[in-house]
């Protein structure tokens, strides 16, 4: 990585932030990890690879809803961005089956609707 100066930083900042198309964000702060986010991340990672799904997997910080950890934000084309809470391995599989592959939101697991389709 080369060092940034004023001009290259500006160029960097002006790059469109929306490079992320379809993504899954797993909250991986200490609180999330303590609630099992690492295992959930592993499930997503393995399944996305084996099924070759067109979705990017990221880790992120704590979204603040500690009562519902582990938190997973999912955004796919045509559906709003939603945050699933208390995600277990089973829910993770459901998210991949229904939401990512099937294009339908999963029942009883959404804790926050981050509006916008």
């Amino acid at each position: 990585m080369s060092k940034l100066d004023r001009a290259s930083l500006e160029a960097f900042q002006n790059q469109p932030a929306g490079q992320r198309k379809d993504y899954i964000n797993v909250g991986m702060s200490a609180c999330g990890v303590a609630a099992g986010a690492a295992e959930v991340y592993q499930v997503f990672s393995d399944e996305i690879r084996t099924r070759n799904l067109p979705v990017a997997l990221h880790q992120c910080g704590c979204a603040g809803m500690c009562y519902a950890e582990p938190l997973v934000e999912v955004k796919t084309a045509g559906l709003p961005s939603v945050t699933y809470g208390r995600v277990t391995k089973e829910v993770a599989i459901k998210i991949l089956d229904r939401h990512v592959t099937g294009g339908m939101l999963v029942n009883d697991a959404i804790f926050s609707i981050n509006t916008g389709i």
Partner: protein, 580 residues
Amino acid sequence: MFTKIVFIKDTSAGPQDQTRDFYTRFLDTVRRFGFLEQTNVVRVADIGLYGHGIVVHILPDNIVYHNVKDTDIERIVENSVKADKVLEDLVFQYQPKQNRLVLRNCGKIDPESVDEYIQNGGYQGLKKALFESTPEQVINEIKTSGLRGRGGAGYPTWLKWTQCRSVPSSERFVICNADEGDPGAYMDRSVLEGDPHSVIEGMLIAAYAIGAAKGYFYIRAEYPLAVQRIQKALDQAAQLGLIGQNILGSQFSCNLEIRLGAGAFVCGEETALIASIEGKRGTPRPRPPYPTTRGLWDKPTIINNVETLANVSYILANGGQKYAGIGTPKSTGTKVFAVTGKIKNSGLVEVPMGITLREIVYDICGGIASGKDIRAVQTGGPSGGVIPREHLDTPVDYENLQKLGSIMGSGGMIVMDTDDCMVDIAKFYLGFCVDESCGKCAPCRIGGYQMLKILNRITEGNGKIEDIATLKRMSRAMQKASLCGLGQNAANPVTSTLKYFEDEYREHILEKRCRAGKCQSLARYSIIPEKCKRCSLCATNCPVKAITGSKDVAYSINPDVCIKCGKCLEVCKFKAVLKV
């Protein structure tokens, strides 16, 4: 592809969640209208509203209906699902109560990727500071914003910086105080783990403003993930030339380094923190001179809290004027609170200053988990106090909390219901301060210990009525004579519980009764003969054989033998054991 997405959730606090039934009926109606293919109806686990009956949220129109009845389903489907009309009588004008500035990136970007931070507007503030402003202008921008220290005391940040800058010296230092140790508070950890670059950027701006070439992160070793992420962020920043020599090609150079704290609570006090960084034992020294004149290695030093620094990067990027528009005139901006205790949805909330405690507890966090009444909210950790339910409508800012006998503190907020005993709470917090007292000054070392002894006596049923006056006198002495903030504020939980709940202390002392049932030694167990089914389960489980009875006679507890362990209450299947 769906044209409409409908979210459904029953938000009433009733015993039976109606979401599932309502969902079925809603789905049937949508099917009847022949719009099933185009609609995704979803049951959600939490919709962000509480006590609003059944809530229906429709996207992409972003309509929120509340208190929806079964009879409304048909017209909702007809007007708002099949068409785009809004039913005005059902609409709830949803105003988000939270305002995320400090947590702007937490939960959104990858904390281990500097690229994502930059692409989301990161290091804009640093760029503005370095290339578009003089250090004085940076301080002025902070002055315009009205930012005050988020560590708890609320000292104006610009004033601290100006004082440090005005002291002639060959060297100056910036320290980020990440020694967060209040029970139940974890705002700083979340920021460090979720958005480390925002704190680094804030520190660089602070260093530029005061003319420092070296900065330290003082993080406690109990936060391994935070330390790891900050280290990774520092490495990335160094690679990109965001820290080090000639930052971004400018004349400004600054190096940042991590120092680990061993987890002593007193090291969050600035003079003790400095001693700890210098490699000495972490004990405070009298102020003045303040660290801004004689700090680290006797050089002028500023110490800012994690949240303050995360605010600084936001203010520089977005302008002080905009920031000053949020919150109240004297306490501008937002504050992150860690809401825990008997709350339904515990977690981090970031709210504009001036919001009421009631809004935080009920509207954002969903109220009390047990459904019981709220008794008090504890703010400010062991240095703070309790705020009783009568004052829930007070707007939260530095001055108001102080008036109520508590402090803003770093942002821990512990909600207590009727099951919490106020004497026990005071004992817990005082015990924490006694454990963490460094022992350097007598008022804190001895005063705290003696007060704790009295509180222990009261909760064990051996209190004397004079104890209340003694507690008050000793709290005053500790407040006046202790060397640092830890000792001065250690008695706060006792003074504030005495202020609002003195009758409860009296009950413990005079009637030997704890109304919350928390103080084990004051509890009395008895068996209601009418309810006793003579199963002998309690007698079998009693560890001291205090329960006697037989198949013919109802069981009873001998109070002289009973050790009040509560086992009988736990095992009784017929609710025949009574605890008072």
